[in-house]
């Protein structure tokens, strides 16, 4: 068990490519942190720097009270679960689990106890004498987890561990990882590009974009108050609708012209106005009130996904594409004109220039 502290950590590759741009964060003991972001945002690089698999260009990484910048990966007291599991193909499952312990000169019966215990927790006891190639993807994933658990490390590092599994198994393992981490209470850093995984697993999310932190916070906070248009469009599915708007006689309307009416809450001339698909209420006619948002919307496509449907369309026939969540039984023909209403509390305002959130 330990805290992990990153202090203005930078990674610059040859050719002056800055993969990680001065990231600072304090991770609490026992906390489950998820690093999330699109490909190439530096999340894996950051994790590998904590593991010691990549050098740190500048800045400090501490695990516990110790700065580990120059400490060998084997001495950092961490365990890592890799995306492709990285099991030793020539060793049995038992030896895969025991290998790291033997190298640490742990007594034989203690190794045996830990391996058996991990095998019991992960239900892989029947495969201990098999080689990895004789296991299914889900079983290999469990062995990879087991290899991390037996080490009883100060921190677990997960590098997209579920992305090679099929959808059903992924959900199952996700629940299991969460349960295990809570039971063991081990500080964990988890990298994923899957925002659903990030939302469900994390105590706190770190959203990365272009090597820098966009936002740190509990999943609900990040969802409810995205710090930028990047976070707003990355977290949540379908993504938040973003409409460029300008002020006209104290009210807001879409840059493209008509079709939108909303109060100007922050006294600026231009914004990016954000509204989540589930916060839009479908109505046959324009709302009367003036404190909320109302827009005129033409249906393009209806996309039923089972439990609900998504309606894609445009503001008054022009302007950016808008998504609305509708009940699963909803039926709207293309070309239908609807009114979408939302309360002021559900509207997000972002700076038109830099995309940062404007708080009211």
């Amino acid at each position: 068990m330990a805290t992990i502290t990153l202090d203005t950590v930078r990674k610059v590759y040859a050719g002056n490519v800055e993969a990680v741009k001065g990231v600072s964060v304090d991770i609490d003991d026992g906390e489950f942190i998820v690093l999330v972001g699109p490909s190439g945002c530096g999340k894996s690089t950051l994790l590998r720097m904590i593991a010691g698999l990549e050098d740190i260009t500048t800045g400090d990484i501490s695990i516990g009270d110790r700065i580990v910048n120059k400490v060998d990966p084997a001495d950092r007291d961490i365990a890592m679960v890799f995306q492709n599991y990285a099991l030793y193909p020539h060793m049995t499952v038992y030896n895969n689990l025991a290998y790291g312990l033997r190298n640490r000169k742990i007594a034989k019966d203690e190794i045996d106890r830990r391996v058996k215990e991990a095998a019991r927790i992960l239900e892989i006891g029947d495969y201990l004498e098999r080689k990895p190639r004789m296991l299914s993807g889900g079983q290999r994933q469990r062995v990879a987890m087991g290899r991390a658990i037996v080490r009883e490390p100060a921190a677990f590092l997960f590098d997209e561990p579920l992305s090679n599994l099929d959808a059903k198994l992924r959900v199952q393992m996700r629940v299991e990882i969460k349960r295990l981490q809570k039971a063991l209470g081990t500080t964990s850093v988890y990298v994923t590009h899957d925002q659903l995984e990030a939302m469900t697993l994390a105590d706190r999310l770190i959203v990365l974009n272009g090597g820098a932190i966009e936002q740190i916070g509990a999943p609900v906070d990040v969802y409810d108050k995205p710090a930028s248009t990047f976070v707003a469009s990355f977290i949540g599915s379908p993504a938040m609708n973003l409409v460029p708007v300008r002020s006209e006689n104290g009210r807001l309307q879409a840059e493209s012209g008509a079709g939108l009416d909303a109060p100007n809450l922050h006294g600026s001339d231009r914004y990016l106005l954000g509204i989540r698909p589930e916060h839009l209420e479908i109505s046959g006619e324009k709302a009367n009130g003036t404190d909320g948002l109302s827009m005129e919307f033409t249906v393009n496509v209806l996309e039923p996904v089972g439990a609900e449907s998504y309606i894609y369309g445009q503001l008054d026939g022009a302007g950016p594409e808008i998504v609305v969540r509708a009940p699963s039984h909803a039926r709207y023909d293309p070309g239908t004109v609807l009114y979408l209403n939302a309360t002021a509390a559900d509207i997000h305002f972002f700076d038109a220039e830099n995309g940062r959130r404007i708080e009211g």
């Binding site: 990966p73 492709n84 990285a86 099991l87 030793y88 193909p89 020539h90 290998y99 790291g100 190298n103």
Partner: protein, 293 residues
């Protein structure tokens, strides 16, 4: 997979014919000829042959010369195989870790592959020359008066060095591609599990390289046995005298220089049997312990 059926049953055999005839003409026929003539005493001028049964084999195996040469061949093969595999593996492991100028290193280590064995022998002769050879001058600093072609040990030493030098690039290429075939994340997982790079190499990298190593072991033994002929011939300047030779070279000496075709054939049959036994042992004993991914 789609099964393709030829309309004419003989057509596939026709397609195989070039390969089969090469095997027949260049391997089966000479082998059969060697077996046949090993039972005959051939007239030196080729006028006739007398059937002598196993006399050629008895003569071969009981001659004191043969034992000595077989022992040298064994030591030579062991040294060449061990050194060329070991040095190539070391170079491959080091080259795999090089980041800057990697391709330059690799090319430099590989180009010797393109040198023909007799040329390799010639270069070896230059290096080991009595008067201008840099290696002779180097070891002279340590008080070793090297005399290639005169001293039995020195000549054998030069042969081993030349043969190893010639073989390292082949092994290097295979080991390097074998190393690059090992998953990077497996190596990273190992670096988290084990601090000692030395131990990591022997417990993870080496076992995963074993299929490559086993293949190269067979290739190298065969090389040391048969393909070093050119190097040996050039170093000896076709004047063996009392210098060390290998069994294959003796087959050539007795058959074509000594005109004893029967005895020479008997030796080559013994060699064939030896290689056959060796191959069976290798596949039976060693391959069983090797993990193929």
């Amino acid at each position: 997979m789609k099964k393709v059926q030829f309309r004419n049953a003989w057509f596939p055999y026709l397609l195989l014919l070039p390969q089969l005839s090469i095997v027949a003409i260049f391997f089966l026929w000479p082998a059969a000829e060697a077996v046949r003539s090993s039972f005959y005493l051939e007239d030196p001028f080729g006028f006739g042959a007398t059937f002598v049964g196993f006399d050629n084999f008895v003569d071969t195996i009981t001659s004191t010369d043969y034992g000595r040469i077989a022992r040298f061949t064994g030591i030579f093969t062991f040294c060449v195989t061990f050194l060329s595999l070991g040095i190539a593996l070391l170079l491959a492991v080091k080259a795999d870790k090089v980041i800057h100028g990697a391709s330059t290193y690799k090319t430099l280590l590989m180009w010797v592959y393109a040198v023909a064995p007799p040329v390799a022998g010639l270069i070896a002769i230059l290096l080991f020359d009595q008067h201008v050879g840099p290696i002779v001058k180097l070891v002279a600093l340590f008080g070793w008066k090297m005399q290639i072609g005169v001293n039995y040990f020195d000549t054998g030493f030069a042969m081993v060095i030349a043969a190893v030098w010639k073989q390292i690039p082949v092994n290097f290429i295979f080991f390097l591609s074998g190393l690059q075939g090992i998953s990077k994340s497996v190596q990273e997982a190992a670096s988290i599990d084990c601090r000692s790079g030395f131990r990591r190499f022997w417990t993870v990298t080496f076992p995963l390289l074993a299929p490559t190593g086993f293949f190269l072991l067979i290739i190298n033994i065969t090389y040391a046995f048969f393909d070093t002929f050119g190097i040996i011939d050039v170093i000896l300047k076709t004047e063996p005298g009392n210098n060390p030779v290998t069994l294959v070279y003796k087959v050539y000496l007795d058959g074509f220089r000594g005109n004893d075709l029967g005895g020479s054939s008997a030796q080559s049959v013994v060699l064939m049997i030896l290689v056959f036994i060796l191959t069976v042992i290798q596949f039976r004993l060693i391959e069983r312990r090797i993990h193929y991914t």
